[in-house]
């Protein structure tokens, strides 16, 4: 049984807002999700009751704060089916991708090596690696797309064939096309070509919407971000195999990540602490823990089923408008709820502004995926994306707004 969206919506304060007489219709969860009261309460409890720093405090507040923080790690580990020692908290998914880029890629790849990524990556899962390539002289290869916006696995096989690919960075779910990539198969292919290859996936758009088992994906590391999964801003995580983390040199250094420090050097703490330098995001971790609780309670299978159905309705509604092109796969089995579209003759900025005037929030632009935009032959698209609090009632205002933009801006 799907959950009751109108009731659920009451848990999200910003959605109660009225914009010039229009109900706020939030279709931009792929950029950032709304935050439920339970998450705000969890952060508030920390600030109002246990406000102090974590680790090594001998007084009660400090022990409570440590329990909140480490408890969130355990919750997240259970949620994504990973080892808690493999959960490194970061400020966002971008930092998580940079962590693996600095601590593994930059310390292992050089001339003669290759890194494989895709043309659909978010800049977060692309630029840290091309930047490293520029400094270190390894080659970057890109998996291209099939006509329906999926990764071309035949092309991937060719790119892997010479065995020089030592690192793979691939998104689990595209924030523009919605495509759900078969990360496990790509990992198998990469290891078949080079058994030592490290596979990193960007799970930012997956974890909020699909049941995810890090163990079952069979990869080495995985980046996620809190603010897209009903959690607060300012927290994300790198999820990794503990053995990989153990073998890596630290990235950020400073307090809390050391075992011993002398004037000239330092020895590192155990994982995951070795990768968490400085005072961590304590309130944010407590908030993320509460977000994970809520997602678990709603049930990731139920969430996926609900969003799958709604995404189908969204695509049908958009595709039914004259002059509207929808990007990404039509097969709902391989796509999540981020739906990019274009209105012929109307610039996405104008579509977005028109929708905004009736309280409909969509994102317009390149969505931090400039190489993908180029593949689509486009400078920018509009994108509507759904989450647990959206339902079919949100679609008519979207369609009406687009129709209005068409007649308003038609030349």
């Amino acid at each position: 049984m799907p959950f009751d969206v109108p009731t659920l919506r009451k848990e999200f304060p910003t959605l109660q807002r009225d914009l010039d007489g229009h109900r706020l219709i939030y279709l931009d969860s792929a950029a950032s999700s709304q935050t439920p009261v339970a998450v705000l309460d969890a952060m508030d409890r920390y600030y109002r009751w246990s406000r102090s720093n974590v680790h090594r405090g001998v007084y009660q507040l400090a022990e409570e704060a440590t329990d909140l923080y480490e408890g969130a790690r355990t919750k997240l580990a259970t949620f994504v089916d990973a080892d808690p020692r493999g959960i490194v908290f970061t400020k966002n998914a971008t930092e998580a991708c940079n962590l693996i880029a600095y601590s593994w890629v930059r310390r292992n790849l050089g001339p003669g090596d290759a890194l494989l990524t895709t043309v659909m990556e978010h800049h977060a899962n692309l630029v840290p690696f091309t930047y490293a390539a520029k400094d270190l002289g390894f080659e970057v290869r890109h998996i291209t797309l099939t006509d329906d916006g999926q990764l071309d696995l035949d092309a991937a096989r060719d790119l892997l064939a010479d065995g020089r690919v030592r690192f793979v960075a691939v998104s689990h779910v595209s924030n523009v096309l919605g495509t759900i990539n078969d990360v496990a198969t790509i990992a198998d292919m990469a290891r078949a070509a080079n058994p030592g290859a490290i596979i990193h996936a960007d799970g930012t758009q997956a974890v909020p919407h699909l049941p995810v088992s890090f163990r079952d994906l069979g990869i080495d590391s995985y980046a996620i971000t809190g603010h897209k999964m009903l959690g607060p801003t300012g927290i994300g995580a790198l999820i990794a195999r503990p053995e990989l983390l153990d073998s890596m040199e630290p990235f950020l250094s400073g307090g809390d990540m050391i075992r011993d420090v002398t004037l000239d050097g330092a020895t590192w703490n155990d994982i995951p602490h070795k990768f968490e330098a400085g005072t961590p995001m304590i309130a944010e971790a407590a908030g993320l823990g509460a977000a994970v609780d809520m997602l678990t309670e709603l049930g990731m299978d139920q969430i996926r089923a609900h969003e799958r159905e709604l995404t189908g309705q969204l695509i049908d509604a958009l595709a039914g408008i004259n002059d509207v092109t929808v990007h990404g796969p039509r097969d709902l089995d391989v796509r999540g709820g981020a739906v990019s579209f274009e209105v012929a003759g109307v610039h996405p900025h104008d579509v977005g502004a028109m929708l905004s005037s009736t309280g409909v929030c969509v994102r317009v632009g390149h969505h931090c995926c400039k190489p993908l935009m180029k593949c689509l032959g486009s400078n920018a698209t509009a994108r509507a994306s759904v989450h647990v609090y959206n339902d079919a009632d949100d679609l008519p205002p979207l369609v009406e707004g687009i129709e209005a933009a068409r007649s308003f801006f038609a030349r």
Partner: protein, 154 residues
């Protein structure tokens, strides 16, 4: 955020029937190309100078209604002006986009219709695109060159 603040009728007229929009200009003295990679806008501006005046100004490009309409209104406001005067008017428009009252509202002609855009920070750069291209074209001409390409920041 009301549509009327942003999309005044004058703006829509310029968007629907742009003035001085053309892909080429006879006897052009300067051609500048401006782009804003973050929203994908592209603008070509061509200028012919006669006796130190902006004899002809044409634009071409791709972008949202605001950027296209603003460029159109700009050409009308500056054609026939001395180069220095064109620069001053561009500065007046720029300040208006940052919230100031325009000191030369009459000279901006339809350009004043864009005053409301200043309330929409994300769109300010759209309205400025044509004007910044003009400024660059004049400065390029003054420096003795004939072409220039600029990539704008967000």
């Amino acid at each position: 955020m009301s549509m009327e603040d942003l999309y005044q009728e004058i703006i829509l007229d310029h968007y629907r029937k742009p003035k001085n929009r053309a892909p080429a200009l006879d006897n052009e003295d300067v051609h500048v190309h401006h782009s804003n990679p973050l929203c994908g806008d592209e603008m070509d501006l061509r200028v012919r100078v006669v006796d130190g005046n902006l004899d002809a100004v044409v634009f071409d490009g791709e972008g949202c209604s605001i950027s296209q309409a603003s460029a159109s209104a700009m050409t009308q406001a500056v054609i026939g002006r001395e180069l220095k005067d064109g620069l001053e008017l561009a500065e007046d428009f720029r300040l208006m986009m940052h919230g100031d009252e325009p000191s030369r509202a009459d000279d901006l002609l339809d350009g004043v219709a864009f005053q409301g855009v200043s309330k929409f920070p994300v769109r300010v750069k759209c309205a400025l695109l044509g004007w910044m291209a003009l400024r660059d074209a004049i400065e390029t001409y003054q420096s003795g060159a004939s072409a220039h390409s600029v990539t704008h920041d967000d």
